[in-house]
Protein backbone atom coordinates (compact mmCIF):
# COMPACT_ATOMS: atom_id res chain seq x y z
CA UNK A 1 0.00 0.00 0.00
CA UNK A 2 1.36 3.40 -0.97
CA UNK A 3 2.08 5.89 1.84
CA UNK A 4 -0.18 8.92 2.09
CA UNK A 5 1.40 11.99 0.46
CA UNK A 6 3.07 14.30 3.04
CA UNK A 7 0.45 17.00 2.46
CA UNK A 8 -2.39 14.65 3.30
CA UNK A 9 -0.62 13.51 6.49
CA UNK A 10 -0.05 17.11 7.52
CA UNK A 11 -3.67 18.04 6.84
CA UNK A 12 -4.93 15.06 8.81
CA UNK A 13 -2.71 15.98 11.77
CA UNK A 14 -3.91 19.57 11.57
CA UNK A 15 -7.55 18.51 11.48
CA UNK A 16 -6.96 16.36 14.57
CA UNK A 17 -5.32 19.27 16.40
CA UNK A 18 -8.16 21.56 15.45
CA UNK A 19 -10.86 19.15 16.62
CA UNK A 20 -9.01 18.66 19.90
CA UNK A 21 -8.74 22.43 20.34
CA UNK A 22 -12.45 22.93 19.66
CA UNK A 23 -13.43 20.21 22.09
CA UNK A 24 -11.21 21.58 24.84
CA UNK A 25 -12.54 25.08 24.25
CA UNK A 26 -16.16 23.91 24.34
CA UNK A 27 -15.53 22.00 27.56
CA UNK A 28 -14.58 25.34 29.16
CA UNK A 29 -17.66 27.19 27.94
CA UNK A 30 -19.51 26.99 31.28
CA UNK A 31 -16.60 28.63 33.05
CA UNK A 32 -16.19 31.22 30.30
CA UNK A 33 -19.88 32.09 30.49
CA UNK A 34 -19.82 32.42 34.27
CA UNK A 35 -17.15 35.10 33.99
CA UNK A 36 -18.66 36.73 30.89
CA UNK A 37 -22.00 37.07 32.63
CA UNK A 38 -20.55 39.65 35.00
CA UNK A 39 -18.11 41.32 32.64
CA UNK A 40 -20.99 42.15 30.30
CA UNK A 41 -23.87 44.35 31.35
CA UNK A 42 -26.68 41.84 30.85
CA UNK A 43 -27.40 38.17 30.24
CA UNK A 44 -28.09 38.91 26.55
CA UNK A 45 -24.80 40.80 26.16
CA UNK A 46 -22.96 37.95 27.87
CA UNK A 47 -24.46 35.38 25.50
CA UNK A 48 -23.50 37.44 22.45
CA UNK A 49 -20.04 38.04 23.82
CA UNK A 50 -19.43 34.34 24.43
CA UNK A 51 -20.62 33.48 20.91
CA UNK A 52 -18.37 36.11 19.35
CA UNK A 53 -15.49 34.84 21.47
CA UNK A 54 -15.94 31.25 20.34
CA UNK A 55 -16.40 32.26 16.70
CA UNK A 56 -13.12 34.17 16.87
CA UNK A 57 -11.36 31.42 18.81
CA UNK A 58 -12.37 28.76 16.28
CA UNK A 59 -11.11 30.96 13.43
CA UNK A 60 -7.79 31.76 15.04
CA UNK A 61 -7.11 28.47 16.82
CA UNK A 62 -3.61 28.31 15.27
CA UNK A 63 -2.47 31.22 17.42
CA UNK A 64 -3.16 29.23 20.61
CA UNK A 65 -0.06 27.45 21.95
CA UNK A 66 -1.05 23.93 23.08
CA UNK A 67 -0.24 23.28 26.74
CA UNK A 68 -0.77 26.91 27.80
CA UNK A 69 -3.82 28.12 29.72
CA UNK A 70 -6.70 27.85 27.24
CA UNK A 71 -9.25 29.36 29.62
CA UNK A 72 -7.07 32.48 30.00
CA UNK A 73 -6.57 32.60 26.21
CA UNK A 74 -10.35 32.54 25.65
CA UNK A 75 -10.91 35.19 28.31
CA UNK A 76 -8.30 37.41 26.69
CA UNK A 77 -10.31 37.31 23.44
CA UNK A 78 -13.50 37.92 25.39
CA UNK A 79 -12.25 40.95 27.32
CA UNK A 80 -10.84 42.50 24.13
CA UNK A 81 -14.17 42.03 22.36
CA UNK A 82 -15.95 43.47 25.36
CA UNK A 83 -13.78 46.59 25.22
CA UNK A 84 -14.33 46.84 21.44
CA UNK A 85 -18.06 46.85 22.06
CA UNK A 86 -17.60 50.33 23.46
CA UNK A 87 -18.34 49.69 27.06
CA UNK A 88 -15.56 52.13 28.07
CA UNK A 89 -17.93 55.04 27.69
CA UNK A 90 -19.31 54.35 31.14
CA UNK A 91 -18.34 56.23 34.25
CA UNK A 92 -14.63 56.58 34.86
CA UNK A 93 -13.04 55.15 38.02
CA UNK A 94 -11.70 58.52 39.21
CA UNK A 95 -15.29 59.78 39.53
CA UNK A 96 -15.87 57.31 42.34
CA UNK A 97 -16.10 58.68 45.87
CA UNK A 98 -13.63 57.27 48.35
CA UNK A 99 -14.82 54.01 49.77
CA UNK A 100 -14.88 53.04 53.40
CA UNK A 101 -12.37 50.81 55.11
CA UNK A 102 -12.26 47.03 54.84
CA UNK A 103 -14.22 46.33 58.00
CA UNK A 104 -17.03 48.73 57.15
CA UNK A 105 -19.53 46.25 55.70
CA UNK A 106 -19.18 43.83 58.59
CA UNK A 107 -19.68 46.63 61.08
CA UNK A 108 -22.74 47.84 59.19
CA UNK A 109 -24.35 44.39 58.99
CA UNK A 110 -23.53 43.45 62.58
CA UNK A 111 -24.83 46.78 63.85
CA UNK A 112 -28.09 46.56 61.86
CA UNK A 113 -28.69 43.13 63.32
CA UNK A 114 -28.31 44.38 66.86
CA UNK A 115 -27.24 41.10 68.44
CA UNK A 116 -24.12 38.96 68.24
CA UNK A 117 -24.37 36.63 65.27
CA UNK A 118 -22.31 33.88 63.77
CA UNK A 119 -20.04 35.55 61.16
CA UNK A 120 -20.79 32.82 58.65
CA UNK A 121 -24.49 33.64 58.83
CA UNK A 122 -24.24 37.44 58.69
CA UNK A 123 -23.55 37.31 54.94
CA UNK A 124 -26.93 35.67 54.47
CA UNK A 125 -28.53 38.99 55.29
CA UNK A 126 -27.42 40.06 51.81
CA UNK A 127 -29.93 39.04 49.18
CA UNK A 128 -29.09 37.80 45.70
CA UNK A 129 -30.42 41.08 44.28
CA UNK A 130 -28.20 43.10 46.65
CA UNK A 131 -25.13 41.25 45.48
CA UNK A 132 -25.86 41.19 41.77
CA UNK A 133 -26.72 44.90 41.67
CA UNK A 134 -23.77 45.86 43.89
CA UNK A 135 -21.40 43.99 41.59
CA UNK A 136 -22.83 45.64 38.49
CA UNK A 137 -22.40 49.05 40.16
CA UNK A 138 -18.63 48.54 40.48
CA UNK A 139 -16.89 50.45 37.63
CA UNK A 140 -15.59 48.18 34.85
CA UNK A 141 -11.88 48.51 35.48
CA UNK A 142 -12.34 47.25 39.03
CA UNK A 143 -15.11 44.80 38.27
CA UNK A 144 -13.09 43.03 35.55
CA UNK A 145 -10.43 42.15 38.11
CA UNK A 146 -12.91 41.05 40.79
CA UNK A 147 -14.80 38.90 38.30
CA UNK A 148 -11.63 37.24 36.99
CA UNK A 149 -9.99 36.62 40.38
CA UNK A 150 -12.86 36.16 42.82
CA UNK A 151 -15.44 34.57 40.52
CA UNK A 152 -13.36 33.11 37.69
CA UNK A 153 -10.63 31.88 40.03
CA UNK A 154 -7.80 33.23 37.88
CA UNK A 155 -4.44 34.00 39.47
CA UNK A 156 -3.19 37.61 39.65
CA UNK A 157 -0.74 36.66 36.90
CA UNK A 158 -3.47 35.32 34.58
CA UNK A 159 -5.66 38.36 35.24
CA UNK A 160 -2.71 40.63 34.39
CA UNK A 161 -2.20 38.83 31.08
CA UNK A 162 -5.88 38.70 30.19
CA UNK A 163 -6.36 42.42 30.81
CA UNK A 164 -2.89 43.39 29.60
CA UNK A 165 -2.07 45.37 32.73
CA UNK A 166 0.79 45.03 35.26
CA UNK A 167 0.30 42.64 38.16
CA UNK A 168 0.62 45.55 40.63
CA UNK A 169 -2.37 47.17 38.92
CA UNK A 170 -4.34 43.92 39.27
CA UNK A 171 -3.63 43.95 43.01
CA UNK A 172 -4.51 47.58 43.56
CA UNK A 173 -7.70 47.37 41.46
CA UNK A 174 -8.71 44.21 43.27
CA UNK A 175 -8.26 45.79 46.66
CA UNK A 176 -10.07 48.96 45.74
CA UNK A 177 -12.74 47.10 43.75
CA UNK A 178 -13.59 44.87 46.70
CA UNK A 179 -13.96 47.96 48.87
CA UNK A 180 -16.25 49.58 46.32
CA UNK A 181 -18.30 46.37 46.18
CA UNK A 182 -18.60 46.32 49.96
CA UNK A 183 -19.57 49.99 50.04
CA UNK A 184 -22.32 49.28 47.48
CA UNK A 185 -23.49 46.33 49.59
CA UNK A 186 -23.49 48.42 52.75
CA UNK A 187 -25.60 51.04 50.97
CA UNK A 188 -28.13 48.42 49.92
CA UNK A 189 -28.37 47.24 53.54
CA UNK A 190 -28.82 50.81 54.76
CA UNK A 191 -31.67 51.33 52.27
CA UNK A 192 -33.48 48.23 53.43
CA UNK A 193 -33.30 48.97 57.16
Amino acid sequence: MAEAPPDATRLAAEARDRVRFEEEALALSDQVYRVARHLAGSREDAEELVQETYARAFRSWRSYTPGTNLRAWLLRILTNLNIDRGRRSQRAPQMQPLEANDYYLYDKLAESDGRPTDEDRIVERLSQDDIVSALSAVPHDFRDVIVLVDIGDFTYQDAAQILDIPIGTVMSRLHRGRRILKRELAESVAEET
Binding site: Y33, D102, L105, E119, Y156
Partner: protein, 79 residues
Protein backbone atom coordinates in the same frame (compact mmCIF):
# COMPACT_ATOMS: atom_id res chain seq x y z
CA UNK B 1 4.56 50.65 60.76
CA UNK B 2 4.87 47.72 63.13
CA UNK B 3 1.88 45.66 64.16
CA UNK B 4 2.52 46.83 67.74
CA UNK B 5 1.67 50.51 66.99
CA UNK B 6 -2.01 49.89 66.31
CA UNK B 7 -2.51 46.17 65.95
CA UNK B 8 -6.13 46.29 64.74
CA UNK B 9 -5.52 48.98 62.11
CA UNK B 10 -2.53 47.06 60.80
CA UNK B 11 -4.46 43.79 60.93
CA UNK B 12 -7.12 45.35 58.75
CA UNK B 13 -4.48 46.35 56.19
CA UNK B 14 -3.27 42.77 56.07
CA UNK B 15 -6.69 41.19 55.63
CA UNK B 16 -6.93 41.19 51.82
CA UNK B 17 -3.37 39.96 51.20
CA UNK B 18 -3.83 37.40 53.99
CA UNK B 19 -6.97 35.95 52.41
CA UNK B 20 -5.24 35.99 49.00
CA UNK B 21 -2.23 34.17 50.49
CA UNK B 22 -0.01 37.05 49.48
CA UNK B 23 1.62 37.89 52.83
CA UNK B 24 5.27 37.12 53.55
CA UNK B 25 5.88 34.43 56.14
CA UNK B 26 6.70 37.03 58.84
CA UNK B 27 3.58 39.06 58.07
CA UNK B 28 1.39 35.97 58.09
CA UNK B 29 2.74 34.89 61.48
CA UNK B 30 2.19 38.42 62.87
CA UNK B 31 -1.37 38.51 61.49
CA UNK B 32 -2.23 35.09 62.91
CA UNK B 33 -0.75 35.94 66.31
CA UNK B 34 -2.99 39.01 66.42
CA UNK B 35 -6.04 37.04 65.26
CA UNK B 36 -5.43 34.47 67.98
CA UNK B 37 -5.81 37.06 70.67
CA UNK B 38 -8.18 39.58 69.05
CA UNK B 39 -11.78 38.47 68.75
CA UNK B 40 -12.73 41.79 67.13
CA UNK B 41 -10.44 41.32 64.12
CA UNK B 42 -11.03 37.56 63.97
CA UNK B 43 -14.77 38.07 63.48
CA UNK B 44 -14.12 40.50 60.66
CA UNK B 45 -11.67 38.18 58.90
CA UNK B 46 -14.11 35.29 59.12
CA UNK B 47 -16.87 37.47 57.77
CA UNK B 48 -14.72 38.54 54.81
CA UNK B 49 -13.90 34.95 54.02
CA UNK B 50 -17.56 33.91 54.04
CA UNK B 51 -18.49 36.98 52.02
CA UNK B 52 -16.18 35.94 49.20
CA UNK B 53 -17.56 32.41 49.10
CA UNK B 54 -21.12 33.71 49.31
CA UNK B 55 -20.71 36.29 46.52
CA UNK B 56 -19.16 33.68 44.29
CA UNK B 57 -22.02 31.23 44.87
CA UNK B 58 -24.71 33.85 44.43
CA UNK B 59 -23.45 35.31 41.17
CA UNK B 60 -22.59 32.00 39.48
CA UNK B 61 -25.22 31.40 36.84
CA UNK B 62 -25.26 28.22 34.80
CA UNK B 63 -24.88 28.71 31.08
CA UNK B 64 -28.16 28.52 29.13
CA UNK B 65 -28.44 25.13 27.40
CA UNK B 66 -29.26 26.72 24.02
CA UNK B 67 -26.06 28.72 24.18
CA UNK B 68 -24.03 25.55 24.49
CA UNK B 69 -25.63 24.21 21.31
CA UNK B 70 -25.03 27.53 19.52
CA UNK B 71 -21.34 27.43 20.44
CA UNK B 72 -20.96 23.86 19.16
CA UNK B 73 -22.58 24.96 15.89
CA UNK B 74 -19.86 27.60 15.45
CA UNK B 75 -17.23 24.91 14.88
CA UNK B 76 -15.70 25.13 11.41
CA UNK B 77 -16.48 22.31 8.99
CA UNK B 78 -13.58 19.95 8.31
CA UNK B 79 -12.18 20.52 4.80
Amino acid sequence: MSIHDDPCAHCEEMMQPYLDHMLSEDERVAAEAHLDECDWCRRRYRFEESLRVYVRQIVSEPMPVELKAKLAALRLPLE
